[in-house]
């Protein structure tokens, strides 16, 4: 070892007298507190051992949580109490030095940016312009692959569903719905045949079929042929945020959206009479074929679901 290190003696910090109140613990009875903390650490360790045991034998989840949580709590409270009651209570103080530099130092930095920049970069205006412009274009172009890869463009997909002229209405299990299937006042969720198991069928094409009477039912002027034998069909997508309009109040003849409580009157074309939905549920024109199957006359005449910019 070098000679220098042999001279080193411990740096004994400038101490306060041992009886200084700042160094005293906050506890009035430190011995008692120490014992309590010791008990907590022992209990914490016991619970942690219990946690390991519970995990090993694959005990119920609450036993895992109770042992681990209890153990952590005992450790934590014990450690907090140690810091709060047994360590020097202070208060201690430190000076706060200003972070701001002198004007000269600030000017020195500003000068470096402005003067070097002015002298070195501005002198080559053409190069700077070319590089800056090029990088700007790169920045814009770089967005293209990122954005265009993320998904297809909407095009007109939001305007159409899979209902066509003559599409059979099937229930969730794929069974075609027949004219005798529904009693008056009952309701079933239907899909265009073939889509009932697809995500698009469930998310976009879902339609509620309600039987309102046993005669042709007109919900609005111009829809005289849409409700044969009292069967009417509405898009099940709420026009507010697209939740399924899954509740049917049979007595009030209201379709209710459980998300934000929009209500639609099925008698008059599902015009909303309560809640935040701004538009009626689109109605699907139906007909009943010679075999008595419920089929659609066409697609919906307006886009289904919530509002969007391109929707007129």
């Amino acid at each position: 070892m070098s000679e220098m290190q042999e001279h080193r003696t411990p740096v004994s910090l400038k101490g306060l007298p041992a009886d200084d109140p700042h160094l005293a613990p906050a506890a009035r009875n430190p011995q008692l507190v120490e014992r309590v903390i010791a008990v907590m650490f022992v209990l914490g360790t016991a619970l942690m051992v219990g946690f390991g045991w519970a995990y090993w034998i694959n005990a119920q989840p609450w036993k895992l949580g109770a042992t681990m949580g209890g153990g952590l709590l005992f450790y934590g409270i014990g450690l907090v109490a140690w810091g709060k009651y047994l360590m020097p209570k202070g208060p201690f103080v430190e000076e706060r030095h200003t972070l701001a530099n002198t004007t000269e130092q600030r000017d020195a930095m500003a000068a470096a940016i402005v003067e070097r920049g002015g002298g070195v970069i501005k002198r080559r205006k053409m190069l700077g312009g070319l590089l800056g412009g090029g990088l700007g274009i790169f920045g814009v172009v770089a967005m293209f692959p990122l954005l265009r890869s993320l998904g297809p463009l909407p095009k007109d997909t939001l305007f159409h569903t899979d209902w066509r002229r003559g599409t059979f209405a099937v229930d969730q299990s794929g069974r075609r719905v027949q004219v005798g299937d529904l009693a008056i006042g009952s309701i079933v969720t239907v899909f265009p045949e073939g889509t009932q198991d697809t995500e698009r069928g469930q998310a976009v094409d879902q339609t509620v079929l309600i039987r309102l009477s046993n005669q042709d039912f007109t919900t609005q002027k111009g829809r005289e042929t849409w409700g044969p034998m009292g069967y009417v069909a509405y898009s099940k997508l709420c026009t507010h945020l697209g939740c399924p309009v899954g509740l049917y109040e049979q007595q009030l003849q209201l379709l209710v959206c459980p998300c934000h409580q929009s209500m639609f009157n099925v008698n008059n074309g599902a015009i909303p009479n309560f809640g935040p939905a701004p538009r009626p549920l689109p109605q699907l024109p139906l007909y009943i074929d010679a075999q008595g199957f419920i089929r659609s006359q066409s697609d919906y005449h307006v886009p289904v679901g919530p509002g969007f910019w391109e929707r007129s």
Binding site: H7, V80, A203, P276, P306
Partner: protein, 511 residues
């Protein structure tokens, strides 16, 4: 002396006066120069006020989130591919579900400790965001955001935004009936943005709702990208805190130019590490005893099904409430639609609330024309206008949160839904106008109270022989005397470049 003892001594001498610690430090300092900064970090003073603990709750529940989240990520499969569920939860046996749903049910029932970890993860998220909100309110009401801490205030507001976003993303991952409905609403909100909404929604979801990309995308955002940004910003938040030092309440010996409290090592370190255990322990107990998000009861997501009384996690409540009570004001013109009934409550309104948080420090500086440095905190009652403004915003947000339960309230109190809806509309609109003057008045009253905010001494009432009652002040509490101690510049905790020779117990360091 034995040879062994001699060798031991020689070894110790070789290590220097501080033994192995000193040796390791020497080696480190040679290479990195850590001693000076490290010493002042150990000396950093933390104020002792309880309200400084709120941010710690947020920090430590984030630690719990990271630890439990790593566990969950080992078992979760972020895929929307359909599988037939065959597992321990018999009611779902044989059902066609997505892998995301199936793996979440499996980790709850088939993985040891999995259910506990899932519930702890969900609980600590709710606690994390709650603690952030309360911490932010503390910083706001005491004026801790003022110069020089505006940057840290903005970082904090960004952290809150990111935490809410990440909470929503994580809540969406199990692909259950309730969370799927939440995703559908999020899709419709994106769709409602004027001009670019359809493109936005299609790019985020990879096509028309639901698409097949949303769970994998939400997963990588939830476990890597957003938490990565959060960790970076939390680090910046802490670094700025150390660099700018803590604020403190005015009091004995406290000035704009010092900090009074406990030093980092060992006192604060003991307390804060213990507190981390407490946060972890409470979360574990919640995970053990309080069921949260039992997705096997909701069932897998099916876009044509829905459950009743569906509500999001608490931090999304104000958005849901706003969507419920906003009137159906769709705007149509020139062949285009702006779904104002969605855009205003779900896009513009939250933008305004968070925007207000970001600009508040600037706004207040412009109004008060106060551009001085502030390290001493305000008592909220001494800043009645700021306190009243904060209460007004919080009151409206709270009413919106309540409004997210209109259907439950109507059911519970047997009230018509219509009346509850209109009641909430009125309450949301008038609550800020009630909260502002009320808070202002209370602040003014508090200012007039002698010794407000200090603990009062007990009055001892005695009855004299004549039957007269006399009240005299009792002696001060022992605990109060502790606070009356003049904080001393304790050299143990101060870095001094020069140490004077000859003072008691002090010797110079020679190198």
């Amino acid at each position: 002396m034995s040879d062994a003892a001699v060798t031991k001594r020689a070894k110790q001498a070789a290590l220097g006066p501080y033994g192995k610690v000193g040796h390791v430090l020497n080696e480190l300092d040679d290479r990195l120069g850590v001693a000076k900064g490290g010493r002042s970090f150990l000396d950093k003073i933390f104020p002792d006020h309880w309200s400084f603990m709120l941010g710690e709750i947020a920090l430590y529940s984030f630690v719990v989130l990271l630890v439990t989240g790593v566990f969950l990520s080992l078992y979760f499969i972020p895929s929307q591919a359909m599988v037939t569920y065959h597992g321990n939860y018999l009611p779902l046996d044989g059902q066609l579900v997505t892998q995301a749903f199936s793996s979440t049910v499996n980790m709850s029932f088939a993985v040891r400790g999995g259910l506990l970890m899932r519930q702890m993860h969900h609980w600590s998220c709710d606690i994390f965001i709650g603690a952030m909100v309360v911490h932010m309110a503390r910083v706001f009401f005491t004026g801790a955001f003022r110069k020089p801490r505006e940057i840290n205030w903005s970082i904090g507001a960004t952290l809150l935004t990111l935490a809410i976003v990440n909470g929503f993303l994580g809540y969406s991952l199990p692909d259950d009936l309730v969370s799927g409905t939440g995703i559908r609403i999020a899709y419709s909100i994106l769709l409602s943005v004027p001009l670019v909404g359809t493109y936005l929604a299609f790019l985020v979801f990879g096509g028309n709702f639901p698409g097949t990309a949303v769970i994998p995308r939400f997963f990588i955002l939830h476990v890597l990208i957003v938490p990565g940004i959060i960790i970076a910003l939390v680090t910046a938040h802490m670094v700025l805190l150390v660099r700018q030092k803590h604020t403190q309440f005015p009091g004995e010996g406290r000035t704009e130019d010092n900090v009074v409290g406990s030093p980092m090592f060992p006192i604060f370190m003991a307390k804060t590490t213990g507190f981390m255990f407490v946060v972890g322990g409470v979360t574990a107990l919640l995970g053990a005893f309080a069921q949260i998000n039992p997705i096997w009861q909701f069932g897998p997501y099916d876009a044509s099904r829905i459950s009743y009384a569906v509500q999001p996690d608490w931090y999304m409540g104000f958005l849901d409430g706003a969507l419920r009570i906003f009137p159906a004001w769709s705007f149509h013109s020139f062949g285009y639609t702006i779904p104002l009934e969605v855009t205003i409550p779900a896009v513009i309104f939250p933008g305004l609330v968070f925007g207000l948080a970001y600009v508040w420090p600037t706004l207040e500086r412009l109004v008060t024309k106060d551009s001085a440095m502030h390290n001493l905190l305000d008592r909220p009652s001494n800043r009645p206008k700021r306190t009243a403004a904060g209460s007004a915003v919080l009151a409206a947000l709270f009413m919106l949160f309540v409004a997210s339960s209109t259907d439950v309230i109507a059911n519970f109190f047997h009230l018509p839904l219509n009346e509850v809806l209109w009641g909430m509309r009125i309450l949301v609109l008038i609550s800020p106008f009630v909260a502002y003057p009320l808070t202002y008045k209370i602040c003014k009253e508090l200012q007039g109270v002698e010794g407000g905010g200090k603990r009062k001494t007990t009055n001892v009432v005695t009855r004299t022989a004549e039957g007269e009652y006399v009240a005299t002040a009792a002696p001060t509490y022992v605990d109060d005397r502790h606070h009356e101690l003049e904080p001393t510049e304790v050299p143990q905790f101060i870095v001094t470049d020069e140490v004077e020779e000859g003072e008691s117990g002090v010797r110079t360091v020679e190198r």
